[in-house]
Subunit: 134 residues, 2 copies
Amino acid sequence: MDFQQLLRGAALRVTRPRVAVLSAVHTHPHADTDSIIGAVRRDLPEVSHQAVYNTLHALTAARLVRRIQPAGSVARYEARVGDNHHHIVCRSCGLIADVDCAVGEAPCLEASDDSGFSIDEAEVVFWGQCPACS
Amino acid sequence: MDFQQLLRGAALRVTRPRVAVLSAVHTHPHADTDSIIGAVRRDLPEVSHQAVYNTLHALTAARLVRRIQPAGSVARYEARVGDNHHHIVCRSCGLIADVDCAVGEAPCLEASDDSGFSIDEAEVVFWGQCPACS
DNA sequence: CGCCTAATCTTGACTGATTCCAGAATAGCG
DNA sequence: CGCTATTCTGGAATCAGTCAAGATTAGGCG
């Protein structure tokens, strides 16, 4: 995966921290910011946490990563973008798994009554117990 | 609405803070903890924030209220329980509206592949712009 | 190739929601 | 009415995330 190319394609400057963050998100799907900082520092021990926060925001805005945040969790990031898939979260250990969207493009569901809102996305989170916890 | 009865029915002790919190959640759907503290203190100016946090947890565990927390938001609470409805959240102002679930009982959706999880709930959050913001 | 400037990064303080804790108050049983 | 476990108060602590100022650097331009 050519991360430099991905960054350039999104009109983002190529810096070591950014490449490392993008790489870490690809390597660790659903990781929280702290884990990403840890992963990045294995390559670049000097990166500040602020640089990682900045980068994650920039990458999210550029749609190179997606931010997910199940209720009660800190922010997590994944590199799988553009396919509108959903997630299963384990109530016990917090493990997150991907679920393909059976319906297709976002928004994949119609609201029964949209209260006048213009809807652009339907986010689905399944809750339950993972195999290890049940 | 007889809040004392609701509390007793859930085997919870009836205290002034609890009645006030339960009442506030009924009166202010989707309110965050701070708003609830404010509403409660209109009746009981001396209530500690900790009592409100404790009570909200107890009420949530007893299923007398439901906790919702769209990504990027603080915890919010609503008294509408047991009907598995969903929510629309405005990306601009954070306004939340209820959406009836078209499908029925929880979990109202099947995951295409559950990865071995046992699923008990499918939470749907629609994202868009509310009438005022669009 | 090297300069220049805006974008990015480092450092460190700060915020705000939530939790933790110890001691005082109280609901509700007997 | 008194007892005890539960709940409440007050205050400190935690933790993710943000803010801000000054140093560094990517990448366009000559």
